[in-house]
Amino acid sequence: MEYTIFILILPFLSFLFLGLAGKWMSHRAAGLVGTLTLGAVAAMSYLTAFLYFTAPRLADGTFATLIPVNFEWLPFTSTLSIDMGVLLDPISVMMLIVISTVSLMVHIYSFGYMKGERGFQRYYSFLSLFSMSMLGLVLATNIFQMYVYWELVGVSSYLLIGFFYTRPAAIAASKKAFIVTRFADLGFLIGILVYSYYGGTFSFHPDSSMLMAGGAAMMPLALGLMFIGGAGKSAMFPLHIWLPDAMEGPTPVSALIHAATMVVAGVYLVARMFPLFIVYAPGVLHIVAYVGAFTAFFAASIACVQSDIKRVLAFSTISQIGFMMVALGVCTSLDPNLGGLGYMASMFHLFTHAMFKSLLFLCAGCIIEQVHSNEMSAMGGLRKYMPVTHIAFLIACLAISGIPPFSGFFSKDEILTASFNFSPIMGWVMAIIAGMTAFYMFRIYFGIFWGTENKELHEKLHPHENPLTMTIPLVILAGITCVAGFIPFGQFISSNGQAYHIDIELSTALTSIIIGVVSIALAIFMYMRPTQPVADSLARKFKELYTAAYHRFYVDEVYQFITHRIIFGCISTPIAWIDRHIIDGLLNFSAWSAYATSDSIRSLQSGRVQQYAFVFLLGALALILLLIL
């Protein structure tokens, strides 16, 4: 399967080509180059997945881990080197499918969405760069290669969030996303260094003799630090603040990067290191679970009151990633039948979530394109004007709410089962968060498509269905969302690699369906009609809570306080004073003394040749005298 290297090379070439030559290309040609490249990548990914999963299993019932391409990039010592290559195992092949599918859909969709925008070619070249980096991240053969691509996705995310660089909000958001994730990546880097020092390698399987010699004691630290990096990318509390702001980017970018692929990189990282987590650092895995659960709850509660639909979707993404983290964190063993179910559940949810969340974002893009606003107040009653978007959005909402037979039900059900197996409290907490998910999704669903119509605005703008380039991806993703739940996911991916048969546990399934239906009913009761007396009176009754949630529980303000008042005010300002006055003063003094000395002796350079010659002669005589004496 050596051709898999082209999965990385093709988008990179497309990035270079569009970036360098895009200026002289028409929008259509540039878009076609990008989309066709991604189409080729998607075709290769599907072929790889087909060949990989149809190949016979090994004797122990797992799929073989293949490294078709690998070369030594930076050798440090005879045993320690950084390699670059392609690694194929069940989760990386699954991620290949997710990334190439969503990326292809977004490429097609952007034809319509970005039509006529300035910098259309630049947009497609950045999309290619992102696809290349994300694919490189999941195909990494070692932790350092992963880190390199991890930073590359950070950069391309930065570039794409700030795509509308004339808007100050977009620039601020792109900087915020880059700095917050970069700050978290510091933890990742230190984790890698600790890991490679005590594990003796950058590969995912540390040297067992090094671990015996005391390295195992350092593994929890290394893995915990790596999780900090993952938490930054995956927007876990308290590093989640960049993701809602990242919605300033173009909506297809939000669908690709901030819903489906890059934000799940943290989950993928934990899944990638999972065998080490389970053996050496089960305590850290519990931290992952608690952080995930808290983030899921926190983000869900904020999502219930936001009025900007992209913000709601962003918080819902944070919440769903929290679910995936919980699913990984509640694993207690490598055997899926003995407490390792969460691994499969997490990967399954990653897969289904990528599909329905990108669908939600693309629908939101369609709506925003028509009403020119992100606020729900500009929408309402849109079901009459945009039937395809309406149905697609409804399917995605049902999927994320966990209603069968849509894909979200199956994956979320596995997560709930895994959580109940871990502890009933965790199970109930996650079930309640699942209910909140259904509630806020249907809240915005009714707010957009039912509720009070903003007639004034709609008469002016005449919202209508978008062109086919935008609706076809919706239809495809909606189709995937309908059927993805029936994929026998456990056959392909499980915590120990052996085939696992998913059977839906009736009690958990019923619980989650009942909670979902009740929440949806509550949302119908509160938000379906033109006036919303119940919601308004609740908002009045719990005014403080409502305001706090609306302001995202003031986490951004806390960051503002810590960075501006404490770090800038108490640390940076004194250091800056020392720099300005003492360090600069020393340098200025040396420059000034050199200047003053030269100024006082410059009249020696009189410009009279004979005088120079005379001094020279005197010098020569002095030397002669010296030699004689």
Binding site: G607, R608, L617
Partner: protein, 103 residues
């Protein structure tokens, strides 16, 4: 009649000090160049003389003075070129008129 070494050295010493004197006292750049040439020729004579009287079997002194003559010819060409350029710019080759290149 045999001319002994001191005679040659006296001549070259006179040339040397005439050159030094001229270099310091003349304010015309051409005259200064001539003085420099005097000094150079004095050293050339010394090379030849010492070779002739002290190491008659060898040739290095002669060769060295030949080299020195060639180099001084090149150096004179450059010096005169510089003087011509100076003259074109300031209409004078007196050293007191070209004191701009200071500080």
């Amino acid at each position: 009649m045999m001319i002994n070494i001191e005679c040659y050295l006296v001549v070259s010493t006179i040339m040397m000090f005439a050159g030094i004197y001229g270099f310091f006292t003349r304010h015309n750049m051409l005259a200064m160049l001539i003085s420099v040439e005097l000094m150079l020729n004095a050293t050339d004579i010394n090379f030849a003389v010492f070779n002739r009287f002290l190491f008659p079997a060898m040739k290095e002194g002669y060769f060295f003075s030949l080299f020195s003559i060639a180099i001084s010819a090149a150096e004179t060409a450059i010096a005169i070129a510089i003087m011509i350029n100076i003259y074109r710019n300031v209409r004078s080759i007196q050293t007191k008129d070209i004191e701009d290149m200071k500080w």
